[in-house]
Amino acid sequence: MTNRLTISLSPHEKGDVQIEKIMWGVVIALIPAFLASVYYYGFQALRVIVVTLVFCIGLEYLIQKYVLKLKKITALDGSAAITGLLLAFNVPSSIPTWMLFAGSVFAIGIAKMTFGGLGKNPFNPALVGRAFMLASFPVQMTSWPVPMKNIWSLGADAVTSATPLGLLKEGVKAGETVQQLAHKMPSYLDMFLGNIGGCIGEVSALAILIGGIYMLYKKIITWHIPIFYLLSLGIFTGIFWLVNPAKFADPLFHILAGGAMLGAWFMATDMVTSPMSIKGQIIFAVMGGILCGAIRLLGTYPEGCSYSILIMNAFVPLIDKYAKPKRFGTEVNYGG
């Protein structure tokens, strides 16, 4: 018997769920979307994902080791990998590598590490990185290579298409009705599978759904945020569609198009930047869905998902303050 017994307060048991397990679980859940992006955009998607991953994990390591001089380096805990993957998923495949580097510096360096690293960042780092890139490189961030075309050529392909949301926005602006635009639009099946122009990771609703279901199964997330986000987006856009179907697209289109699926399943559910209580998560998701719809329908940008989540991130402390879990003993039942 060792003569050194540990004396500590209870509990003396510890569950086996660690940060790494949760974070790498999310990375596993992102694999279907990764495969879909490579399937549709080939070599360029692979390049984007690999370099962003290397940049994000490497930057986190360098900052922790040489800037913050931490004893415990946590660059491989999986959270930097998630940021890297999500940032890569949020850009077109034709984006130059150096822009990805700039985005990674902003995501990891500014949005995450300056606030104190994992758990302290008020905004989702990948979305901050994307917002930074969209503001800095608006042209490169909105030119969309055509999926399944010349995807294994090593040079950048000059052929570009538009995203369904972009098509819609431009078309309606030019005075066309949704019905007139219909022949230019991809089918819902293509949108569901991902055979459309867009950011490499957001195109395939199917792949994202598989990852989302995996996270639900592994209890990494609860269903509340994604379902309420998509429902509220659907209802908000649905009201506009019912009022004026010539000008506004139907709710299913809005749920499948753009980053709504990726945002709802992987970015709004980011535990660090979402509310703690289920009640709070529902408020967060519903408001996020409405914001996303409002930006898409009423704003100048065709896409609103990432901004809607970033804006709601800012409301999280407030939501946490008022949306409390239900306390035991409030349901007074004297029985009988």
């Binding site: 500590s8 209870s10 003396h12 569950g15 994992l118 879990p325 409030t330 029985g335």
Partner: protein
């Protein structure tokens, strides 16, 4: 069939009921015993013996203090009182204890030592409560709350309509209640009938978790012979053995914050207590022994022992014929979720000792902490619907006023939050710190 359970929070730690198949063995007597004067919740008892006194097994050696919450203590052995001295107990502090040198095993004549089951209850409800008080019965589930107080329904309180018996044993490792339910089923049933009579309730409900199917079956079989007793199997979920959670699970009533089970018309007692009540009322036997589990993953032999109060815990180790495993890094008095880590096996077994668990280095090691990642798992497992992450932060910053408004005093210290935290934050350590400060402030605030 959907099993009943409580609604908010809960975790399911590995059960590790290693000693479940070990029948209860009677533990022998040591050369001397140390019987602490403070084995129960409330004021320490007042010693009635002095150095050199000769006592018998069952002699009253310390009476209940004049405070409302206190209990009698009886000698668990016969022999000579050596001295009254400070002895280290499970709290880690040295507290007053009566040390008795063991000479033979002579029992008080009033105690009926025959093994026959005595079913007929001769006592009136008042006599039962008096007997429970005289015989020093306290709750054997762990908290050691003097049992008679629960049955003193006073003044304006509504009389209870249901007696709830806790056979849950939701702590990992521990098996003493389980063995008792299997081996002393009839005695427990009579004990429950006695308690029903004392509380004047027509109904008793026994809750047992589904991981003890044979205990459920056996108790259900026997319950048929005893009117008003119902046995309910519960879904395995920790902390189901906590009073408020058990009441919610069995009769779907919520005890409001700061209130007692009696406020929702129930009294809760442990199966072990029911057995002790049986012995006290039917056999005149004071609470001088109890069943203790001795277990650990690295022990070759584990067991459940009927041990006299005051016996050093090393006796349990000797009884298994083992030496302490080389890797032992932590000894816990009680279960691993709510028990106390002790610094030595020399501590005496008291009325509240439900078991001793030996953990090795790997199990005892605290994992380095990380930042809170706001995963909300602590809030989702809290059975009281609190926000442990928030309470931890507030307690850390010593914002005790906010701790109070966030209901830190509702915390039952079950440890589900710390157990589940992926960042390995010692949430409950901070919450305890905050809670004790809030309780202190509340005491000071009361008009003198």
């Amino acid at each position: 069939m959907k099993l009943k359970t409580f609604k908010i929070g809960g975790v399911h730690p590995p059960e590790n009921k290693i000693s479940a198949n070990m029948a209860i063995q009677v533990l022998g007597l040591p050369k001397q015993v140390s019987i602490p004067l403070s084995q129960h919740l409330g004021a320490p008892s007042v010693p009635l013996v002095k150095q050199g006194d000769i006592v018998k097994t069952g002699t009253l050696i310390a009476r209940k203090a004049d405070a409302f919450i206190s209990a009698n203590i009886h000698s668990s052995v016969s022999g000579k009182v050596l001295r009254i001295d400070d002895v280290m107990d499970a709290t880690g502090y040295r507290n007053k204890a009566i040390i008795i040198q063991v000479e033979e095993d002579v029992w008080e004549e009033s105690i009926d030592r025959s093994p026959e089951l005595k079913k007929d209850i001769d006592c009136s409800p008042e006599e039962i409560v008096k007997k429970i008080e005289d015989m020093g019965i306290v709750g054997l589930g762990g908290a050691a709350f003097p049992t008679h107080i629960k049955y003193m329904v006073s003044g304006d309180r509504k009389a209870p309509d249901t007696l709830i018996i806790n056979g849950v044993e939701c702590e990992p490792y521990l098996t003493s209640d389980y063995r008792l339910m299997l081996e002393k089923t009839d005695e427990i049933m009579v004990g429950i009938t006695i308690m029903m009579k004392a509380a004047k309730t027509p109904k008793a409900v026994i809750g047992i978790e589904a991981n003890k199917p044979d205990a459920i079956v056996k108790m259900q079989e026997k319950a048929k012979d005893y009117p008003g007793i119902e046995v309910i199997g519960l879904k395995v979920q920790y902390p189901q053995g906590a009073e408020k959670q058990l009441i919610k699970a069995l009769v779907n009533r919520e005890v409001p914050s700061g209130r007692l089970p009696l406020d929702v018309g129930v009294i809760v007692n442990n199966v072990g207590t029911a057995f002790a009540v049986y012995e006290a009322v039917q056999k005149n036997k004071p609470l001088i022994d109890r069943v203790v589990t001795f277990t650990g993953k690295k022990l070759k032999k584990t067991g459940n022992f009927l041990a006299r109060i005051g016996v050093p815990s090393t006796m349990l180790l000797e009884a298994t014929g083992e030496t302490m495993p080389e890797t032992t890094a932590k000894i816990i008095s009680g279960g691993p979720m709510m028990g106390k880590a002790v610094s030595t096996l020399e501590i005496p077994i008291t009325k509240g000792t439900s078991g001793l668990v030996i953990l090795d280095e790997a199990e005892a090691k605290r994992i380095p902490t990380s930042n809170c990642i706001r995963c909300a798992k602590c809030a989702s497992v809290c059975p009281m619907g609190l926000e442990p992450y928030l309470l931890q932060k507030l307690a850390y910053r010593e914002y005790f006023d906010r701790c109070e408004t966030e209901a830190i005093t509702d915390c039952i210290e079950c440890g589900s939050c710390s157990y589940t935290c992926p960042s390995s934050l010692p949430l409950l350590d901070y919450i305890r710190f905050g809670k004790s400060n809030v309780l202190r402030i509340q005491r000071e605030r009361r008009p003198k």
